[in-house]
C-alpha cells in the first residue's frame, strides 16, 4: 500500500509541474506575439529611415560625422551582451555566453562589457555595467541605451561598440551573432538626389544617423527578446510533453501495483478458506 501511495503522490506532483510548464508556455507565446508584432512595426519605420538616408547619399558631409569615422585598429572595445531576463529557455543564454567568451578570447584589444538583461548575475564575470531591459523593449529603452553608448563612443573612451545577441531565425532556431554598432556603416546603393536640406546637410545627416543608431539598437533588443520568448516556449512545450509521458508511465505503474495488491489479497483469502 505504501508503494501505491508513493506513486499517487508522484503523479500529483508531476501534474502540478505540468500545470506550471503549460502556463509558462502560454505566457511565453503571448510575449512572443507581442515582440514579433513590435519588431514588424519597427521594420517598416527603419526601412523608411534607411530610404531617406540613402536619398541623402552621405556625400561630402559623411566625412564630418563622428559616427562614421573609420574604426581604428587600437583602442578599447565595448561589448553589449544582450542576454535573457530569466532562465528556463533551453540553451538560449548558455550558447550565447559560450559564443561571447570565445569571441572575447580571440580579441586582443582591451574591452568593456555591458550586459543587457537580468540572467547570469553569478555566471558572467567582468561585467562593467548591467542594464535593465524589459521583456518587450520600447523605443524609449532603446533611445536611452543608445545615448549611453553614443556618449561612450564620442568621448573617446571606446573606439568601437559591438552588440552580441541571439539572432532570431525562427521560433525553433536562434543563432548567436555580433554586429558593429559604432562606427556606423552607411548603407550602400544610394543615389545623390537634388534635395534641399534644412538647416544644412551636415545637421540633417547627423539626425538621420542618430535615428539609424536607435533603430539598430531597438531592433537588436527586440530580436533578442523575441528569441528568448520563442526558446522558452519551445522548452516549455517539450517539458509539458515530457510530463504527459511521465504521467502515463506512472499511471501504468500504479495500475500494476494496484492489481498486484488485489491479487495478493485474493490469494490470501483463498488460502485462508482452504485452511478452514
Amino acid at each position: 500500500m505504501a508503494n501505491l501511495r508513493a506513486i499517487r503522490m508522484r503523479i500529483k506532483s508531476v501534474e502540478s509541474t505540468r500545470q506550471i510548464t503549460k502556463s509558462m508556455k502560454m505566457v511565453a507565446a503571448a510575449k512572443l506575439r507581442k515582440t514579433q508584432s513590435a519588431a514588424s512595426r519597427l521594420r517598416s519605420f527603419a526601412e523608411k529611415s534607411r530610404e531617406i538616408l540613402l536619398s541623402l547619399g552621405g556625400g561630402a558631409d559623411a566625412g564630418k560625422s563622428p559616427y562614421l569615422r573609420p574604426a581604428p585598429e587600437e583602442g578599447k572595445l565595448c561589448y553589449v551582451l544582450i542576454v535573457g531576463n530569466r532562465g528556463l529557455c533551453g540553451t538560449y543564454n548558455h550558447s550565447l555566453l559560450r559564443y561571447f567568451e570565445q569571441l572575447r578570447a580571440e580579441e586582443k584589444r582591451e574591452s568593456l562589457l555591458y550586459v543587457a538583461g537580468r540572467w547570469g548575475r553569478d555566471l558572467i564575470g567582468g561585467v562593467d555595467k548591467r542594464l535593465e531591459i524589459s521583456d518587450a523593449p520600447t523605443a524609449q529603452e532603446a533611445q536611452s541605451l543608445t545615448e549611453e553608448l553614443k556618449q561612450l563612443y564620442t568621448s573617446g573612451e571606446v573606439s568601437e561598440v559591438r552588440l552580441v545577441y541571439q539572432h532570431f531565425r525562427s521560433v525553433l532556431q536562434q543563432s548567436p551573432c555580433v554586429t558593429t554598432l559604432l562606427p556606423l556603416q552607411l548603407p550602400e546603393g544610394g543615389e545623390d538626389r537634388d534635395v534641399i536640406c534644412e538647416p544644412d546637410g551636415e545637421t540633417v545627416l547627423e539626425r538621420l544617423l542618430e535615428l539609424t543608431l536607435v533603430n539598430q539598437v531597438h531592433s537588436a533588443l527586440l530580436e533578442a527578446r523575441t528569441g528568448e520568448h520563442a526558446a522558452r516556449m519551445t522548452a516549455m512545450t517539450s517539458a509539458s510533453d515530457n510530463t504527459e509521458e511521465l504521467i502515463q508511465e506512472l499511471t501504468l505503474e500504479l495500475n500494476h501495483a494496484r492489481q498486484a495488491a488485489i491479487t495478493t489479497e485474493i490469494s490470501e483469502i483463498v488460502g485462508g478458506a482452504a485452511a478452514l
Binding site: 523608411k48 523605443a139 534635395v195 540633417v204
Partner: protein, 87 residues
C-alpha cells in the same frame, strides 16, 4: 483627393496616414509650410505642434523631434512619439 500624401511614423507604428492639402512643420528655425508641388526637402524637426489642413478642416499633432522628408508630394515624418490633439 488630390494633394499631399502624409505619413507620420514612429517606431511603434504609424500615427497618421492620410491625404492633406497643406502642412506646417515645427523646425528649429520656425514653422515651415509645405504645399502641393513643394521641392524635395529633408528637414530636421523639433518637438512641437504639426498643423495640417485637410478636407475636413484643420488638425494638430504634438510630435517629438525627428525628421521630415518631402518628395514628390509625399511627406514622411519620422518621430519618436506623437499624438493627435483634439480641438
Amino acid at each position: 483627393m488630390d494633394g499631399i500624401s502624409l505619413h507620420v511614423l514612429t517606431a511603434d507604428g504609424p500615427i497618421l496616414e492620410r491625404m492633406v492639402e497643406s502642412l506646417n512643420l515645427p523646425t528649429g528655425f520656425g514653422s515651415v509650410g509645405v504645399l502641393k508641388g513643394h521641392a524635395d526637402m529633408l528637414c530636421n524637426l523639433e518637438a512641437g505642434i504639426l498643423r495640417l489642413r485637410c478636407e475636413e478642416g484643420t488638425m494638430r499633432l504634438r510630435i517629438s523631434s525627428g525628421i521630415a522628408s518631402v518628395e514628390k508630394n509625399e511627406v514622411n515624418i519620422l518621430v519618436s512619439s506623437g499624438q493627435i490633439l483634439e480641438d
